[in-house]
């Protein structure tokens, strides 16, 4: 029981770290970026390339993936995305799906269509037991890293000067600009960090799931479920939602495999009927 619970938490944590960047762009910048998964894919493939071809140690790949995806995000934000902030949501959807198609074809061209995997270093494989449960070392590693990241993000957003500026820029960009806050730069940095987190999620994901060119589309639904159930106004919302979904998914498949496929979707529809702004959202949406 506890074993399966821990598996679910680890899976939820992974979903969170993959989706949190989308929460930042959607909730804070009100931009629907369906190409978010492409940044995660970039991080994942970078890790695969570095480990398989250059023999870079796994732990060094994680920050590399973050930086690579963040740089990619920054580049695209400066050249393309910033033209889209004042367009309609539908235009944003069309644009970002276009990017996804391009990213999928490019990865396919460079790596081929088959699933790519990495072999984790020995110290991250194996299992540990405690309290009668056993968990894979790597899943424990994911839980710890993602937990730290979630806490760190929350602190940055609520307790630092950058966080308060960002919230000001989001609440009313024009006034914030008038107060001397460099809104353009804050958005660019936020976007880059969001993309970087996706890249980091992708790199961490290589240890549990495998990567192929359809990754951005395959996981897009999961990202959207996490942020819509969690609400987009906080970091803790999607965090709790991701864990809830991960645990429900794993427990459901374990105890009632016949309806396993329905569980996540049913939870999402129920949550959205009862609380249209998400389970953990503060008050009504803007």
């Amino acid at each position: 029981m506890l074993t399966i619970l821990l598996d679910g938490i680890a899976y939820g944590m992974l979903l969170f770290i993959l989706a949190v960047g989308l929460c930042v762009t959607l909730g804070l910048m009100n931009f629907i970026n369906l190409a978010h998964g492409a940044f995660a894919m970039a991080g994942g493939y970078l890790t695969i390339t570095l480990m398989q071809q250059s023999g870079v140690p796994f732990l060094a790949c994680l920050p590399a993936a973050f930086l690579f995806s963040a740089a990619l995000g920054l580049l695209l934000e400066r050249t393309l995305y910033r033209h889209l902030y004042d367009k309609t949501h539908l235009d944003q959807v069309l644009f970002s799906i276009g990017l996804v198609f391009m990213a999928m074809a490019m990865v396919d061209y460079a790596y081929g269509a088959n699933q790519q995997i990495v072999n984790l270093p020995d110290y991250l494989t194996g299992r540990v037991s405690f309290l009668g449960a056993s968990i894979g070392v790597y899943r424990l590693f994911v839980i710890v890293i993602c937990g730290l990241l979630a806490a760190g993000l929350q602190i940055v957003l609520t307790c630092t000067r950058f966080g308060s500026r960002l919230r000001a820029a989001v609440d009313d960009g024009r006034v914030a600009r008038g107060m001397g806050i460099d809104v353009t730069r804050i958005f660019a940095v936020t976007f880059a960090v969001g993309s970087g987190l996706a890249g980091l999620g992708g790199a961490l994901g290589t240890g549990i799931i495998s990567f192929d060119p359809t990754f951005p589309l395959k996981y897009m639904i999961y990202f959207l479920i996490v942020i819509s159930v969690g609400g987009t106004t906080t970091i803790t919302g999607p965090f709790l939602a991701a864990i809830l979904l991960g645990v429900a998914d794993v427990l459901g498949k374990y105890y009632v495999p016949a309806v396993g496929g329905f569980i996540i979707y049913t939870i999402m529809v129920l949550v959205l009927i009862l609380r249209p702004q998400g389970l953990f959202s503060r008050g009504p949406a803007r």
Binding site: D108, A113, Q115, Q116, I208, P257
Partner: protein, 393 residues
Amino acid sequence: MFRRQILKGMAGATASLALASIPAFVAPAFAQETVKVGLILPMTGPSASTGRQIEAGARLWMAQNGDTVAGKKIQLIIKDDTGAADQSKRLATELVINDKVAVIGGFGLTPLALSVGPVATQAKVPAVIMAAGTSTIVATSPYFVRTSFTLPQNTAPMAQWSAANNIKTVVTLVSDYGPGLDSEKAFKAEFEAKGGKVLETLRAPLMNPEFAAFLQKAKDLKPDALFLFVPSGQGASLMKQVGERELAKAGIKIIGTGDVTDDDQLNGMGDALIGMITSHNYSAAHESPENKSYVSAFLKANNNMRPNFMSVGGYDGMALIYKALEKTKGDTDGAKLLDAMKGASWTSPRGPMSIDATTRDITQNVYIREVKKVDGQLYNVEFATIPNVKGSN
């Protein structure tokens, strides 16, 4: 009015667009000495690796055997159906009507093949199944012929081997779709007929990135062995999680069909797989001169991509088409080609194979293999052969 003006502009542009695109839509003139072969494959989407392997196999056959047979030039046309059945059907219709192909082939997944059946029947064009493995497909159209394998064909030997090698209880875990259920059924029937017991039949959703719950359940049931089946191209994530859960340490043997230890991905799956027993119709490590030259030519032509069982489906599919054309002396009449295909037999890289004259399904050897490290690379090393297993009855 604003609306009316939009429409005016729109209709004008549509007209010019439609006219401009006519030349592109008209099929090229049908040259007399050319025989066209149309392959409908998933070249994008989740099953893309299947399409790539088959295309590479088919092209390799043509590179090795020339593009002329019985005085006719063979032209290969590849179409991407993205893995959607309505696309397969439409592309099959267009290939038959517009390109006037003599043979269609490919079909990456069972529903894709099933949707094409009525087209083949109506147009009287032979359709060579080079991938899809559900046993019932071939019976749905008199023009279907198969050069891949069927799931029961590959699964039953695994059940026999398990029963004979001191495995008493098994949990099965398969992908929840046609071939997966086919495989589950064949294993359970054969294994229980031989006195074993299947404790639980687990089915994972087809598009399922997370297997933790299923694997943990299998581990908790403490069977002697866990039988696995997932489609080609999806074994990597399953095997990664199998390794992570340390089932082998818990005394559970990992067995399955060769789809899981797909040669295309096997080498990247890691040393955790060493010792896994599978049964299948093809391994890149098959010991024969035909296979040696096949593998080395394939690696050379495809940037070191290792050929898997899908690639031999494409390779042998082209071989069958060549043999049929030789026999009809270049006559492309569908019924004559089909007759020429029935009963054909030859030695393929996978070993001896033939097309059953009555069922039109494939008869071939099935091998029991163990994952081993050979020269630093993981291979499925064959150690037992079950000769001439029929594809369907």
